[in-house]
Symmetry: C2
Subunit: 80 residues, 2 copies
């Protein structure tokens, strides 16, 4: 099974990297009003079905992949 985890800074959390990217894009004259930078993790995992895979990935997020205090998580699961 494949899963993609999108990890973003929550609204209201300072994101200096996003501010730097937004500033650089505006200097290049792109009409960007806001930029936020997060990370993504692509996973291949053994799981019987998408429901089990999602449950596994939720536990991975809680234990390692994201900080729930300051980050939000979006999980996409698909069969290989």
């Amino acid at each position: 099974m494949r899963a993609t985890v999108l990890v973003r800074p929550k609204a209201g959390i300072l994101d200096p990297q996003g501010e730097a990217v937004g500033g650089s894009l505006r200097k290049l004259e792109f009409p960007v009003t806001r930029a936020r930078v997060g990370r993504l993790v692509d996973l291949e995992l053994e799981a019987a079905d998408p429901v089990e895979a999602r449950a596994q990935v939720e536990r991975m997020c809680a234990e390692l992949l994201a900080n729930p205090l300051i980050e939000s998580v979006e999980i996409h699961v698909e069969r290989e």
Copy 2:
């Protein structure tokens, strides 16, 4: 208009961060066979329509957001 850019290391490109994440997940006894780490950029930009927005974001990727030699890019555009 809103856009999300997903930037991933291309297949075959070394990804030490992904290897570290995969190793850590396996130590936690998750059945992960592969992990790759990339980044995401959420953008708010001024554009007349999704087609123009996508063209702008493609130029942003070429000029700043990604290294086409080693990274692949996936762009999602949606109206606000």
